[in-house]
């Protein structure tokens, strides 16, 4: 308790140094929380696309209903196929009409006869898509297979990149924050070198001397984490309408409340460790000397 009071007193006596430390920590955690949110969103988007029909096999115009049903049944039996949907000529016309309802000219010219029937297949795993594609191509009556491989692959790559860039940025910022807290606390400890020596001489353990500095670092870390989280949350609330419009039908919202709780808890713990370690190492160097 006394060590904590001592840490708070030191912070009060050097408010600008405290401000620098907390600001840097806030930026670090703001970026970390924002990236974790972005990664969550990207995963959502990826999952959305993964659950959509990923491969469409178009049948020849004169393909009979029976051969289409047989093809669908054959595909359903495959262990890596999650779902198979048959789209008949009539249903294809309805889809066409729906997507071109604003252009009557296009609608007039098209009838069900000229549209091919198709089956939409989704795989259990994104990695099985090439196999599904090859199976569909081998079926009789299939004229063309439309595989959105590039889109899925690209999304997957983006998500991986986002994770890597986010992690890299957070690690760099965390190292900078650590060094800033380390330097500031080391400066304070150096200015109290005489007091530290006296305390050592009157029987203080190294731990007793380190404690206030560790608490100071922890306070910087935890305050930075809390402020970073609040800034991230405020930004999210502000940007929600824009994000909703951007992602369209992909249901990113509402984000589960537990996610924010875990995020804040992890942030506070990371701030505690980061600040505490910086404080401890800063004063350890001095005590060792």
């Amino acid at each position: 308790m006394r060590s904590l009071t001592s840490a708070l007193t030191t912070i009060r006596r050097s408010p600008y140094q405290a401000l620098v430390s907390i600001s840097m920590m806030t930026v670090t955690f703001f970026v970390a929380f924002s990236f974790s949110l972005a990664v969550l969103g990207a995963n959502h988007v990826l999952r959305y696309f993964e659950t959509q029909p990923q491969i469409i096999a178009f049948f020849e115009i004169d393909a009979g209903q029976e051969s289409i049903s047989q093809a669908a049944e054959a595909m359903k039996k495959k262990p890596y196929v999650k779902d198979v949907t048959i789209v008949s000529k009539e249903e294809a016309l309805k889809i066409y009409q729906e997507s071109n309802k604003d252009e009557p000219l296009l609608l007039e010219l098209v009838t069900a006869d000229i549209l091919p029937a198709s089956i939409e297949v989704s795989a259990t795993d994104i990695n099985s898509l090439p196999q599904v594609k090859s199976d569909l191509e081998s079926l009789s009556g299939v004229e063309d297979v439309d595989f959105q491989e590039s889109i899925i692959e690209q999304l997957n790559r983006w998500t991986r990149s986002l994770r890597s860039v986010g992690l890299g940025a957070v690690v760099i910022l965390a190292v900078i924050s650590f060094l800033i807290i380390f330097v500031i606390i080391a400066m304070k400890a150096t200015s109290q070198k005489t007091a530290i020596n006296i305390m050592r001489l009157i029987g203080a353990t190294k731990g007793y001397i380190k404690k206030p500095f560790m608490y100071e670092g922890m306070i910087y870390g935890m305050t930075g984490a809390l402020l970073g989280w609040l800034a991230m949350y405020a930004s999210l609330l502000y940007l929600t309408p824009w994000i909703k419009e951007f992602v369209g039908e992909i249901g990113l919202f509402p984000i589960p409340g537990e996610f924010f709780v875990y995020q804040l808890a992890a942030g506070l713990l990371a701030g505690l460790l980061l600040g505490g370690m910086a404080g401890m190492l800063a004063v350890s160097r001095l005590i060792r000397r």
Binding site: L201, I202, K206
Partner: protein, 285 residues
């Protein structure tokens, strides 16, 4: 008991702090360590508190082998020794009360106990009214008395005062000497490094170890304490009482010789005795 057994501290090839020093100090003794500047008085203290490690020889404080202690055990040694410095070394950010309480916080005493102890010590050094002042607001003599109170806080068995009167005028120097004597009367072993003739003049007959160029050249009045314990006089009722007591003590000090001092020595020197005596005195008050 404090024992130095053929202790040498060599800094460089031809520079020695102390050379082949051997002595024993019994519990409850009052010992002056004298000698000119650079004779090794401070080195002796630093060896005792393990700021320096001896190049040769062994140091023992009671059951603790000082020279062989690990760094992680140093606090155990330092809690047994109260140190008083020439330049007081009070923490400037802390007030008088907090400075005295600091060693008690360090050893994890409870708040109520700390308050009681600090109050007793402030009474002992007669600075109760200065409890809330900061070191820069104190005179040299007052700062040194606070430094002594801090050294006594944990009830150490031994106190080493390194030139405690070096920055003080004659009157304050003698006063500090008497205060240390009073503490010795309460059972604490006191080692006082000084070359202040005024102080030495007041305490004739007290054991003196003289260092010169790092060597122990004289050890007079060996193992003889100077005064006997009178519990009722342990803490002053008032400044006036204390003055009277100090005058009496001074006369006794001046008249007693080594032989009589030896027969008067009845001082128990257990750690924490000072606290018990002060408590007893407080109850009497």
């Amino acid at each position: 008991m404090l024992t130095f057994d053929h202790v040498t501290k060599q800094f460089t090839e031809d520079s020695y702090g102390v050379r082949d020093i051997t002595f024993e100090i019994e519990p409850g003794e009052f010992v002056f360590i004298t000698g000119p500047s650079g004779s090794g008085k401070t080195t002796l203290m630093r060896l005792m508190t393990r700021e320096y490690t001896p190049t040769e020889g062994e140091i023992h404080l009671e059951d603790l082998p000082v020279s062989a202690l690990k760094n992680s055990q140093l606090h155990e040694l330092r809690r047994r020794i109260g140190v008083v410095f020439q330049d007081y070394r009070l923490l400037t950010d802390l007030n008088v009360w907090e400075n005295i309480a600091l060693p008690l916080y360090i050893i994890g005493k409870k708040q109520a106990e700390i308050e009681e102890r600090v109050t007793d010590l402030l009474k002992l050094v007669e600075l109760t009214d200065k409890a809330l002042l900061f070191p820069r607001q104190l005179s040299g003599g007052e700062a040194q008395r606070i430094s002594i109170a801090r050294a006594l806080a944990t009830g150490p068995g031994i106190i080493f005062a390194d030139e405690p009167t070096g920055n003080l005028d004659n009157e304050n120097a003698v006063r500090i000497g008497k205060l240390l004597h009073k503490i010795n009367e309460l059972g604490t072993t006191v080692l006082m490094a000084t070359h202040d003739e005024n102080v030495l003049g007041v305490f004739k007959g007290t054991r003196r170890m003289r260092l010169d160029n790092g060597k122990l050249v004289e050890d007079k009045g060996k193992k003889k304490a100077s005064v006997s314990v009178r519990v009722k006089d342990a803490a002053p009722n008032s400044v006036e009482d204390d003055k009277n007591r100090q005058e009496t003590g001074k006369k006794e000090l001046e008249t007693e010789n080594d032989e009589s001092a030896e027969t008067q020595t009845e001082k128990p020197a257990k750690k924490g005795l000072l606290g018990d005596l002060l408590k007893k005195k407080s109850k009497e008050d």
